[in-house]
């Protein structure tokens, strides 16, 4: 008598699902490699490959330096010291996540331009005769560096803070017994122990910096992303665009690999919580200095851009006429709902499939599929267009009308870009559930679906809401994919703001920007606790 083999038979459907989703998720990677085989050298020569390569490197270098300083130092002060406002800043500093770098850029340029906000401020409050000569004249690259640094340091801040909190108090006490002063403790004990976490933060910042399109394009700085956009949009040269994408991708993947290695190492550096670090009370000048540092960071990164957007929105109400706010809100929410739904469902299927089937092959392609978060939005857009063109030609079907410049295409673009957020979160949740719990369920008569619905889902549903919020924040802020793949006349807050800002109508851009920051802040606030879950 033959019985079905459960390792091969009953799981075929699940295997097929996981395989298709994982393969689908690596389309951007596959498409770029396939389409970058031929290159238009004349365009590269004329545009000057080294110019935008150099610009990208300069921006990256300074952003890493500044975000590391802002992130690590603020996390250090908040974890190890007590000073006025410490509990407030602990949470408030993550609000910088609500500000997209390009919107910060609009504020920065409006503040420092001739006869801009800065001029009015110093003239009115300090009665300066020539405030323009007093204000620094920032170069476009400096503007980009500042915009990216003040909006991206949050990654390093969050990761460093968690790492500092998990450090053993005994280690710091050891430093004291060896006679180390605060500076030496910081450089010789605290920083080396938190190094993997800081590296993860730096890698994430680097990937975001290299992927940025909105800021560099607004300030007119030629970098990889602007060149990819120009070669495709202006010169209609998809091959060059693909080649540059591949080049940038290799560059980004270096940081992706550093991040992966650092994550592995961070497990070894994590020390057992044998004793908690006690916060040192700061008094007098030190307390004031710590307060000023955190306040300045919070003020510049969040209050400065947000208040400016509110101020303009209030001062120039005529621009409301040009905006259909209900439509913009509706568009953003529709995108959020559809994208999150598919991303979360697919991530659950792939993660559950990998767990239940234990297939090394599926695991490998699933790991490749999460490379999406390392691929800049602009590359994803180009790769979708290239892939659809390839398929249309191959099968002689007009797929372009279905996927390019349509709602579906946009959802697919977001899927590629943000799938990894959901996949990784669910994966780490699954790692916390002992596998013998699944086996117990099977032995108690649960089939795979029942094991998922009655065991896994109740445990993980709370965090699923946090994943939904994270995806929503990203979609609300996202620019290049929306800009390239959106249907005609379809706008979100980000595209509308970009549209006005690129026409030098910063005041008009302030209304969609204000709404964008408002929604992103609300999303961060409703999931505040989850951002600090790692600290437990």
């Amino acid at each position: 008598m033959k019985y079905p083999n459960h390792f091969l038979d009953t799981n075929k459907t699940l295997y097929a699902f996981v395989f298709v989703i994982a393969i689908f998720s690596i389309i951007p990677l596959f498409s770029i490699i396939i389409n970058s085989t031929t290159l238009n050298y004349s365009y590269i020569e004329s545009s000057g490959l080294f110019e935008f390569f150099k610009n990208s490197l300069i921006i990256l270098f300074w952003v890493i330096i500044l975000t590391s300083f802002f992130g690590v130092f603020s996390a250090y002060l908040i974890t190890f010291y007590n000073f006025p406002g410490v509990s407030f800043f602990r949470y408030a500093l993550i609000l910088s996540f609500a500000i997209p770098p390009y919107i910060f850029g609009y504020s920065l340029s409006a503040f420092f331009e001739n006869y801009g906000i800065g001029y009015s401020f110093f003239t009115n409050f300090f009665k300066l005769d020539d405030a323009n000569s007093f204000l620094p004249n920032l170069t476009p690259i400096t503007n980009c560096i500042l915009s990216l640094s003040f909006t991206l340091y949050g990654y390093i801040y969050l990761l460093s803070k968690t790492s500092f909190l998990n450090q053993s108090g005994n280690l710091v006490d050891l430093g004291k017994s060896l006679g180390f002063n605060s500076f030496k403790k910081f450089t010789n004990i605290i920083i080396p122990s938190a190094r993997p976490a800081i590296f993860i933060g730096i890698s994430l910042v680097s990937m975001e910096t290299l992927a940025d399109f909105g800021t560099v394009s607004y300030f007119g700085v030629s970098t990889f992303t602007t060149e990819i956009y120009n070669s495709w949009f202006i010169f209609d040269d998809l091959k060059t665009s693909n080649f540059l994408s591949l080049f940038l991708l290799i560059f980004v993947l270096i940081f992706f690999i550093i991040e992966k290695i650092s994550r592995k190492n961070s497990k070894f550096h994590k020390l057992k919580n044998d004793s908690k670090n006690k916060r040192l009370q700061l008094n007098g000048f030190s307390a004031l200095a710590a307060f000023l540092f955190c306040f300045s960071l919070f003020f510049i990164s969040f209050i400065f851009p947000f208040s400016q957007m509110i101020f303009w929105s209030y001062k120039f109400p005529e621009y409301y006429k040009n905006l259909n706010l209900i439509r913009l809100n509706l568009n953003t929410f529709t995108l959020i709902l559809f994208t999150s739904f598919f991303i979360i469902i697919f991530s659950f299927i792939v993660n559950f499939g990998n767990r239940a089937l234990k297939s090394k092959f599926l695991n490998l392609i699933s790991t490749l599929s999460i490379s999406g978060y390392a691929i800049p939005g602009i590359i994803i857009s180009v790769s979708i267009i290239s892939f659809i063109s390839l398929m249309s030609n191959l099968f002689d079907v007009n797929l372009k009308s279905i996927f390019i410049g349509t709602f579906y295409g946009l959802i697919i673009g977001y899927f590629f870009r943000f799938y990894s957020i959901s996949y990784n979160s669910i994966k780490s949740d699954y790692l916390k559930i002992n596998y013998s719990i699944d086996e117990s369920a099977y032995l108690l008569g649960f089939n795979k679906f029942k094991t998922f619905s009655e065991i896994h889902w109740p445990i993980m549903k709370k965090n699923t809401f946090f994943i939904f919020v994270l995806i929503s924040i990203e979609i609300t802020k996202e620019l290049p994919i929306t800009l390239i793949l959106r249907p005609f006349n379809f706008d979100t807050f980000s595209t509308k703001a970009y549209h006005f800002a690129s026409q030098d109508l910063i005041e008009a851009a302030s209304i969609p920007s204000m709404f964008l920051i408002f929604w992103a802040s609300i999303l961060i606030l409703i999931s505040f606790k989850s951002f600090f879950d790692d600290e437990k």
């Binding site: 079905p4 459960h6 719990i437 086996e439 032995l443 065991i455």
Partner: protein
Amino acid sequence: MKKFFEVNDATFSSNKEHNIRKINFNISKRGEIICLLGPSGVGKTTILRTIAGLERLKSGEIWLSGQLISSTNVSINPEKRKIALSFQDNCLFPHKNVLENITVGLQKENTRNFLYSPNEILKIFQLEKIKNKFPHEVSSGEAQRVSLARSLISSPDLLLLDEPFSNIDPILKEELQKSIKDILKKTGTSAIIVTHDPNEAFYLADKCGIIINNSLEQFDTPYNIYHFPGTLNVVNFLKRGTLVNVRILSKTQLKHHYLGIINGKFGCSNLNPFNVGNSVKLLIQPEDLHHDDNSKLKLKIIDRKFRGTNFIYTLTTPKKELIPVLVESHHQHFHEKNEEFGIKTPINIDHLVCFEKN
């Protein structure tokens, strides 16, 4: 006639390097309890997991109630086998409280009616006070009891228990062992219990299997395993006594160079062929020799271990052979190290256990 449960020529494997080869054992009828004993890491858990359907069987066959459940080509889904497994580590569902974790076991389809209600089970396992607590609020011992209760209440045909009492304190352990044995017998539930504690196995099991060096060295009743260990590996694992060189004089007599004539009956056939005059190794267990202060046969004491109800003296012969002797703790006086210790003569050993010299 087919047995209730059979493992035939089975090779179990948890990874490529580690196989437990050609294993045969069985449960002849419902309600019988088997214990698998062996050192840590030998693969006892792998055997349980394979029987439960969580691992593939490399070769051989496993039958339950006349149905082939595992072979090279056949593997019934774990949820479709009428088998429950209680894991050694905590595998309680974290979102369910203790009572809910236990009653999950009642949801299993096609199970027999269980004789005990959830409340009775809570009482037996002393879990009433913590029935509303969640897994993260209970101790590891309590979690293990919950896991045991859950497996039991699912009323399987075959219950597999992996080190079920490892985290439970000694006083409660004895009580629980008795309760579980009673429940299994009353409900006619067969069980395979994995343990490394021989006393636990000898108390619970109808039959024991000793797994050493990737094979099943002996499968027999606890009495036979204790008194007639089949191989030197089993002797070494159970740490029962020492081996001394003797010569066979007849079917009832042996001769030791210092102890002299040893009378007894050969209880097992470890010697093949059995030849009078051959030199063999005799297993001397602590209860085989008896103390007599007035005896002329004296050995030197080199160690004394206090075991509560008795002492075990380790004695040495002039040829440095070590011999253990058990003496009740209420014996009128202590003997100190390096003292001479009298052995009662003539020596009579109930069952002689001998092994080939090589």
